[in-house]
């Protein structure tokens, strides 16, 4: 009987730990990250995917696979200023595919900086060092 009680306690403790863990993750997402994630959903996810994995709905019309923003290793090799340049001037400006357009007419310069921060957050590149 005692054994069952201990097992039940263990389950409760584990659930508690999981429940506590979730808000901690949500807390880590600052309002700026959440706002930029919304911009990503609106503009970037059509090609880069709703899971940020480079597998958006438009992949069917693309001759080049969009970058997988969840790939920590590949994304870590990109300097932040190159990310900013690709978003503001398009892929061709950083010797990548011209299918990545310039977003300078849609995003403000501040939003482009926020998007670069968001991409570094998404790829967990800030945690890999």
């Amino acid at each position: 009987m005692l054994r069952y009680g201990l097992a039940a306690l263990g389950v409760v403790a584990l659930s508690g730990a999981i429940a506590l863990h979730q808000p901690a993750r949500a807390e880590a997402e600052s309002p700026k990250i959440r706002a930029t994630a919304h911009l990503y959903d609106t503009y970037c996810a059509q090609c880069h995917g709703i899971q940020r994995n480079g597998k958006g709905i438009n992949v069917v019309g693309l001759s080049v696979q969009p970058r997988d923003h969840s790939d920590t290793v590949a994304m870590s090799s990109l300097p932040r200023d190159q990310i900013v340049k690709a978003i503001s001037e398009g892929g061709a400006a950083v010797n990548k595919s011209a299918l990545m357009p310039s977003w300078a007419n849609v995003f403000t310069p501040e939003q482009i900086q926020d998007m670069a921060d968001y991409l570094i957050y998404v790829c967990k590149c800030d945690q890999s060092k």
Partner: protein
């Protein structure tokens, strides 16, 4: 001598007023039809403070520039028998599902446009064609200068339009409106103006402004308005 002339003038004026009245009443009824049938889903005037949220909350695309955009004959037919123009719906993200090898659209969930009868379609088309933005200059597109093969290449490869738009059924991306019947649907000068700067029509739309030269704009417009002309 004066009295008969005054009488004749009065009769003439009354006749004129009566003749003008049905037209005015009809125009008014077309406008109220537009307000009652379309305004709950479509912006019929330019949004004063456009936001990203407007894209997420609207139930249909903005129509405040419908008069610049649509060919009347297509509009009358489509309103009676609407078929999806945007494969991903009004906002593609709302119908996108994550998956392998890539995300897909839940086509069953894409909004369906209500049908109207022929008489209402005519009335609505007239009212819609009266909605102009002032952003489109007639005669900007010069059909005589277009090289169609170059236009097709620019659409598919060089300028990447096919990334988001289909120029044939089932070929091309899904987040933008299909263009395989664009020739029947859209006015060339509008296609050119919108392609040049989509944000002046729809400030936060997810179509980017590409760096396109004037010959690029002409050849892309030429190709787009050649699509599906015969289909209507």
């Amino acid at each position: 001598m004066k009295a008969p002339m005054i009488l004749a003038a009065c009769v003439g004026l009354t006749a004129l007023a009566l003749a003008a009245r049905p037209a005015a009443v009809e125009a008014q009824s077309a406008d109220s039809e537009l307000a009652s049938q379309c305004a709950s889903c479509h912006a019929l005037t330019k949004p004063a403070n456009p936001t990203v949220e407007h894209l997420w909350n609207r139930k249909g695309p903005d129509l405040w520039y419908a008069g610049d955009k649509f060919n009347r004959e297509w509009l009358v037919g489509w309103l009676q028998n609407p078929t999806p123009i945007r494969p991903g719906g009004v906002l593609w993200f709302k119908h996108a599902k994550a998956g392998e090898p890539h995300d897909t659209i839940d086509t069953a969930a894409v909004e369906k446009h209500p049908k109207v009868d022929a008489a209402t379609a005519e009335k609505l088309a007239d009212a819609l064609l009266g909605l102009k933005s002032g952003l489109v200059t007639e005669g900007t597109f010069k059909p005589e200068a277009v090289n169609m093969a170059m236009g097709k290449m620019a659409f598919g490869k060089l300028r990447g339009c096919a990334a988001c738009h289909q120029d044939q059924k089932g070929q091309g991306g899904l987040s933008g409106p299909q263009l395989y019947d664009a020739g029947a649907r859209l006015k060339p000068d509008y296609v050119l103006a919108y392609t040049k700067d989509p944000q002046q029509f729809d400030r936060y739309v997810w179509m980017p402004t590409l760096t396109l030269s004037e010959p690029d704009l002409q050849r892309l417009t030429g190709y787009i308005v050649s699509l599906g002309k015969e289909a209507k």
